[in-house]
């Protein structure tokens, strides 16, 4: 906490001379005709001179309050939720709040003033709320000081509400806008206390509309792919289809002869990435530069390119699976968990159960294909991009160009989905390289096929579970041998290609197995890394998005072997759980999901629970399987414990939508490798669920435990749905699902 305090003192005490250091998003609540909706949202709206109270808050004389947002809007609601948190403490009039993106450039220049700017890990609220509340409280107290000085009364006699400062004894009032300039030089002796979530009177209490919705129903929201920069040319790119292969030759002359084509440039000959940024590396490939995308794309598609692939072509889904399967039988994996003696416990067990589960590489498949625009000049770089991490954009642009970071500006656009893919800035590196090479602004655009075939995929995993039951049918021992690709994109090469050098495990990839509060007297988890040339990274709910499926399916296998009901089994496993949320969520979903209700043959419920970034979540899915094996998910009843609900409608949206993504992952999603390259190329062979397959998602808030817990909802429903569906399928058909996706399995029954 001391660290936080110091950081915030520094941030709040230093009042920047320059006002308006943020990147204005140019939109406001749809409250008045004057609300500015700019087609290019990173540009500042017509300036309203205001006073910057601290790095987050600018107050104008007309009482308009601009709140800066460090967490980019990938669809989770941050552009609304972050200002709401500031507003809670600032006690301001929400109808006069504007949101704008905070500047990554400024954060780097001013000692990380905006704190953690990246988006991921369900954490925008949980990891930002402390400093955002402090920013609001700091400004509120300094506004009070300014009013107290104005009236020459003790500051303790001033109250603040709805952007108005009141001295009750004399009946005097001033608005925030009237005293803002005088609050700028005010200094606090110490940081004011911030509210406990139980004291909130705005968050969780008010129905707030999302600020960005009006821009997203009329086509005016500008995404990275929509950016128009004067003088920019379009680069269609193709990098070696087998990851890591190199360009051998290409027919530049024929491409250059086509209409609109300006140049053909080889990329990736020289690599400038560091170990920490290797996920953004410039892969070997070719860019065709033209006036329009269609000219560039058709010329690129028509161009003959030869690749030097070495032995990469020998790698396939099957070869990788054989290698992974073999690792499961190797003794001596790195120890991830050790409680009691699982090996001895299994020997002593009354009955044992063993099963192997597996999950494939999958892609984020966000709707907006990869794109980035860069303008590199002698003294400045500007980048326009859909990014989850503006700081990574600046880091990568600096590394690629050699320019110092203070001269690099990231203009974050609206973002057509992220899910973990837009964290590494590989697109930015291409744009910076090409702009520098061509000495003009360049917009890089990947086709859907290029986007799907050059992802940072969810890693593969296989796990061998051995469980033992005692005479009472309780799990007495569990031994998990896990073989999987790690996530180097997340961990950085400094950790040995994804592996934590100290413990020799990828802890991130083991979430959902090693951190569940089930009472297992003897528990051993061993890890084997099985790497390939395939780039991997964070996919919505890293690790747990596949482990919840594997682990919770096996728990149901144990329940079956013990002759126990899956809910009763879990209730027993959670008997010692330290966090009350586990049982509260379990009871909530069993109750609201009407666990055990009578259903026709071929229809059944499945239940599952897990933990994701501190959020306990659980689901009951109702699924029918036709005798021919066709799966239909009818409903999902979702429970969760995030402590407190700050922004209820955004929570509902995340849990509803996340369920669809989880459903796609269990039904269809799979990236397969042939000849060292990805087979799937588009939504015809990489299927995503559509509206006709969307189950009714019922979100229940009864699992919330309050207290000091504040966690997030970005990932939980995506990670829990596959397990609940798979468990329902077994109960409907008698067929145990031990691999995803279901499209590869014969689920027919009679």
């Amino acid at each position: 906490m001391t660290k936080h305090l110091d950081m915030n003192r520094r941030q709040f005490a230093v009042t920047a001379a320059a006002v308006g250091g943020g990147i204005a998003l140019g939109f406001a609540l749809p409250r008045e005709a004057s609300a500015v909706v700019l087609p290019e949202p990173w540009k500042a709206p017509p300036a309203v001179a205001g006073s910057e109270i601290n790095a987050w808050i600018v107050i104008a004389p007309d009482d308009t309050i601009t709140i800066r947002v460090g967490q980019t809007e990938i669809g989770t609601g941050t552009i609304t939720a972050m200002p709401m948190i500031v507003c809670e403490e600032l006690e301001c009039d929400w109808s006069k709040v504007n949101a704008e993106y905070a500047s990554g450039n400024r954060s780097l220049r001013e000692n990380n003033v905006y704190g953690r700017m990246g988006i991921g890990g369900s954490s925008s609220v949980s990891l930002s709320r402390d400093f955002l509340q402090k920013a609001g409280a700091n400004a509120r107290e300094r506004l009070k000081m300014a009013a107290a000085a104005e009236w020459n009364v003790p500051v303790t006699e001033i109250t603040a509400a709805k952007s108005v400062l009141t001295h009750a004894a004399s009946g005097r009032k001033l608005t925030y806008g009237q005293v803002a300039a005088k609050a700028v030089p005010m200094r606090l002796e110490k940081d004011p206390a911030i509210k406990h979530p139980s004291q909130f009177n705005f968050l969780g209490k008010t129905d707030v509309k999302r600020l960005d919705t009006p821009l997203k129903v009329n086509g005016s929201a500008v995404y990275g792919i929509d950016v128009k920069v004067p003088g920019a040319v379009i680069a269609a790119v193709k990098v070696a289809p087998a990851f890591g292969a190199k360009v051998k030759s290409f027919d530049a002359a024929s491409a250059k002869a086509r209409p609109g084509v300006i140049d053909v440039i080889e990329i990736g000959k020289e690599k400038k990435h560091s170990p920490a940024t290797f996920a953004s590396q410039l892969n070997s490939g070719v860019a065709v530069i033209a006036n329009t995308y269609w000219q560039a794309r058709t010329a690129l598609d028509a161009m003959a390119i030869e690749w030097d692939e070495g032995d990469l072509g020998k790698i396939s889904t099957e070869s990788h699976a054989r290698e992974t399967r073999a690792a499961l039988d190797k003794p001596g994996g790195a120890i991830a968990n050790k409680v009691g003696d699982a090996v001895a416990g299994l020997k002593d067990a009354r009955r044992t159960v063993e099963a192997i589960y597996e999950t494939p590489f999958i892609d984020h498949a966000m709707m907006e294909p990869i794109s980035a625009t860069a303008s590199v000049t002698a003294d400045k770089i500007e980048v326009w991009v859909s990014t989850q991490n503006p700081i990574s954009v600046i880091d990568v642009a600096a590394e690629e160009s050699g320019m110092s970071k203070d001269k690099i500006f990231c203009n974050t656009t609206f973002i057509g989905g992220g899910f973990g893919r837009r964290t590494v800035s590989d697109d930015v590196r291409q744009a910076v390289f090409l702009s520098k090479t061509m000495n003009r602004p360049v917009k890089v655009m990947w086709s859907r096929e290029e986007t799907l075939r050059h992802g940072t995929y969810r890693p593969t995993a296989m796990a061998k579970f051995k469980g033992g039951l005692d005479a009472d049918g309780n799990i007495s021992a569990m031994h998990v041998t896990y073989a999987g690709h790690s996530t180097p994109v997340l961990r950085g090469a400094a950790l040995g290609n994804g592996i934590d050098d100290k413990n020799k495990i990828d802890a991130n990839q083991l979430r959902g197995i090693r951190d569940i509060d089930y009472a297992l007297p003897n528990f051993l988890v061993e890890w084997h890394a099985v790497q390939t040339h395939v780039p991997t990274g964070a996919w919505r709910g890293p690790g747990v998005c596949q482990n919840a499926f594997m682990y919770e399916s096996f728990i149901d296998e144990m329940a079956l072997a013990a002759g126990k009901d899956p809910v009763a089994m879990r209730r027993n496993l959670l008997r010692n759980a330290k966090d009350a949320g586990w049982l509260k969520v379990l009871n909530e979903i069993a109750d609201k999901g009407k666990w055990g209700k009578p259903l026709p043959k071929g229809t059944a419920q499945g239940i599952a629970m897990t933990l994701d970034h501190g959020t306990i979540c659980g689901a009951v899915a109702e699924v029918s399987v036709s005798q021919g094996g066709e799966v239909k998910v009818h409903s999902v009843d979702m429970g969760f414990d995030i402590g407190h609900a700050f922004y209820k409608d955004a929570i509902l949206a995340q849990l509803e939508g996340g369920a669809a993504m989880g459903l796609s992952s269990v039904l269809y999603e799979e990236i397969t490798l042939r000849n060292g390259r990805v087979v799937e190329g588009n939504f015809d062979d990489y299927r995503i669920v559509r509206i006709d397959e969307m189950p009714q998602v019922n979100v229940h808030f009864g699992g919330l435990t309050g207290g000091d817990k504040v966690t997030g909802v970005g990932e939980p429903s995506t990670v829990i749905v596959p397990a609940a569906v798979a468990n329902a399928i077994f109960r409907a058909t008698g067929k145990r699902v031990r691999s995803m996706p279901l499209k590869n399995l014969d689920l027919s029954w009679s």
Binding site: N218, Y223, G417, G418, N682
Partner: protein, 151 residues
């Protein structure tokens, strides 16, 4: 050079007739509300109206719609007052929002043809993809728009 009528105005654009309408709108006419998602008519992010019918512009050659009335999301209404847009705002449907232009255009065409669609009509007609999974709200918003549309 071809002439296209988009949102009630004629535009002379310098493209070959086989250039997809999507890229003609986006690159040559600067109308970026219509989105590229797949290029093969799978996802529907590029949906526009051609003579009132929903059409996937990524596989529609510009030369094939000369003389037709083309409507894009920018021209659906002047002020987001179309019942579908209003329902989308009312229910805060979008998350990332990238697919929503296409969703809204597909829905507007459906309602023009079938003012009170059933769930089965929606399942059959709205085949666009939303990766954020906003389908539950889309369905509710379609019914709300139908309710609010004066017949």
């Amino acid at each position: 050079m071809i002439t296209l009528n988009v949102n009630g105005k004629n535009y002379n654009v310098d493209v070959t007739p086989d250039t997809p309408l999507l890229w003609t709108l986006r690159d040559n006419m600067g109308m970026t509300g219509t989105k590229y998602g797949c290029g093969i008519s799978e996802c529907g992010a590029c949906t526009v109206h051609v003579n009132g019918q929903a059409k996937r512009s990524c596989v529609t050659p510009a030369g094939s719609v000369v003389g037709a009335q083309i409507t894009t999301i920018e021209g659906l209404s002047a002020d987001s007052s179309h019942p579908v847009q209003k329902a989308w705002i009312e229910l805060d449907v979008p998350q990332c929002g990238y697919c929503q232009s296409g969703m809204i255009m597909a829905t507007a065409a459906l309602l023009a043809r079938k003012p009170k669609p059933t769930d089965a009509d929606i399942d059959k007609t709205i085949t666009n993809i939303c990766r954020c999974g906003t389908y539950q709200r889309i369905r509710a918003a379609i019914h709300l728009a139908a309710k609010n549309t004066k017949s």
